[in-house]
């Protein structure tokens, strides 16, 4: 019987509309895949996004390298003047935010509809 999440490669799906870029992450975010995330963040910034939304709901794994990338992205956003929202933390993401007491990085979950 297979236990836990099946390892999957890191992926980022990007949609851009009205200056808002949405990056949905999948798979495993660690020191080997952080550069890929930072590449996408840099592209969105270069395209003049006024807001970048990083969706973490399908992120199967994230460690402190990923956390540090989020912290740097926040600093970049403040310096550059665009908004950065981390939304929809998966269980794996939530665990890392809790362990490091950095829950402030993630937005409150949207109220459940219906």
């Amino acid at each position: 019987v297979e236990e836990g999440d099946v390892a999957s490669p890191f992926g980022a799906r990007i949609e851009s509309r009205n200056g808002v870029a949405r990056i949905a992450l999948t798979g495993e975010l660690d020191m080997s895949t952080v550069p890929e995330l930072e590449h996408h963040l840099g592209m969105c910034q270069a395209d003049g996004a006024t807001a970048i939304v990083v969706d973490l709901r399908d992120l199967g794994f994230v460690d402190s390298s990923g956390l540090h990338a989020f912290v740097r992205a926040r600093t970049d956003a403040e310096a550059n003047g665009h908004r950065l929202h981390l939304v929809g933390a998966s269980r794996a993401a939530q665990r890392v935010f809790e362990l490091t007491e950095t829950e402030f990085l993630i937005e409150e979950p949207a109220p459940i509809e219906g």
């Binding site: 236990e3 660690d30 020191m31 402190s64 956390l67 890392v96 490091t100 990085l105």
Partner: protein
């Protein structure tokens, strides 16, 4: 500072780390209860981290005033002894701005501690002096039960405390070791791994050897095969991932991971050629804006016991998740 029950020598306002040796539960309640009531009558906030059973005894003894005492269960806070300093640091950070004295009671060692845990507990007691010695003034008393503990344990424990809190006086401890030994990394011996372990070596992951993802898969499979399940399995996989990332970034770029188990614990060990020079590594929470330094902190908070060593030509992070 004067107090009704305990006469204090005229010391400067600094961190006090006292050993409080007692004999049995009744003596514990008497001595520790006095220390607590003394704090309360001086309006000094106090946090007491002892076993659940002793919290109950102290609540009964202190009575209504117990509502002004913050209690925490040492078997949870200090299951991994490396998590005790973070708990005290949070309390200090909260209390120090008021400028008033505050106190703690912490009993990290009890009769059921394993030999491996005892080594880490002693290390913890010694590191308290490093972590808080130069900080704000507060007063921590560490009870040790002479009736239930091996005299070798209490003797070693005493040497990590700058002063001794007796029934009616507080005095300097002539056998206190000081903090000089902390210029060298911790190299207390580790028991050798068993003959049969699962092992994999890793490199930077770009050109040679398994990627970080492959290493996690290896740990997941090896620990799963040894009975680890669900969240505990995820915890060990994340801890192992942090340790291997540490090796790649700070430990010479490569290392090896071993997994084994005993009747009571599942162990994952990461060995590399690095050094742990900071004695408090992973025990002081990095700020929320930090972009490094969370790795060992996370490991300590995920595992039931962590043994970190730096030997002549290698460093070891041995992580335990208990079977129950």
């Amino acid at each position: 500072v004067s107090s009704p029950q305990i006469k204090l020598p005229a010391t400067g306002q600094s961190f006090r780390h006292d050993v409080l040796a007692y004999r049995g539960d009744e003596d514990f309640v008497d001595r520790t209860g006095s220390f607590i009531q003394d704090a309360l009558s001086n309006d000094e906030p106090i946090m007491v981290v002892v076993s659940r059973n002793k919290i109950d005894l102290l609540r009964d003894a202190v009575g209504d005033d117990a509502r002004n005492v913050r209690f925490a269960d040492m078997s949870s806070v200090g299951r991994n002894p490396a998590r005790i300093i973070p708990a005290w640091a949070a309390f200090v950070q909260e209390q120090a701005p008021s400028g008033r004295m505050f106190r703690g009671v912490g009993e990290p060692i009890w009769a059921g501690r394993t030999p491996e845990e005892l080594v880490e507990c002693e290390r913890h007691e010694a590191l308290l002096n490093v972590a808080f010695g130069d900080g704000p003034a507060w007063w921590l008393a560490c009870p040790y039960d002479l009736d239930s503990l091996d005299p070798v344990i209490t003797e070693k424990a005493e040497r990590n405390h700058p002063s001794i809190l007796d029934r009616d006086c507080r005095r300097q401890n002539p056998s206190y070791l000081g903090t000089r030994s902390f210029v060298e990394p911790f190299d207390a011996p580790l028991s050798p791994p068993p003959a049969t372990v699962d092992e994999v070596t890793f490199g930077s992951g770009t050109t040679d050897g398994p990627s970080p993802s492959d290493v996690r898969r290896f740990v997941r499979d090896a620990a799963s095969a040894r009975g680890l399940r669900s969240e505990r399995l995820d915890d060990l996989v994340l801890a192992a991932s942090e340790a291997t990332a540490n090796s790649v970034q700070h430990g010479g770029g490569k290392g090896s991971v071993r997994v084994w188990s005993t009747a009571s614990t599942i162990v994952c060990e990461v060995v590399d050629a690095g050094r742990f020079d900071d004695p408090l590594v992973g025990r002081l929470r990095p700020s929320g804006a930090a972009t490094s330094g969370h790795g060992v902190w996370i490991i300590h908070h995920l595992c039931d016991l962590v043994q970190i060593r730096t030997f002549v030509d290698s460093s070891v992070v041995r992580m335990h998740v208990y079977a129950s």
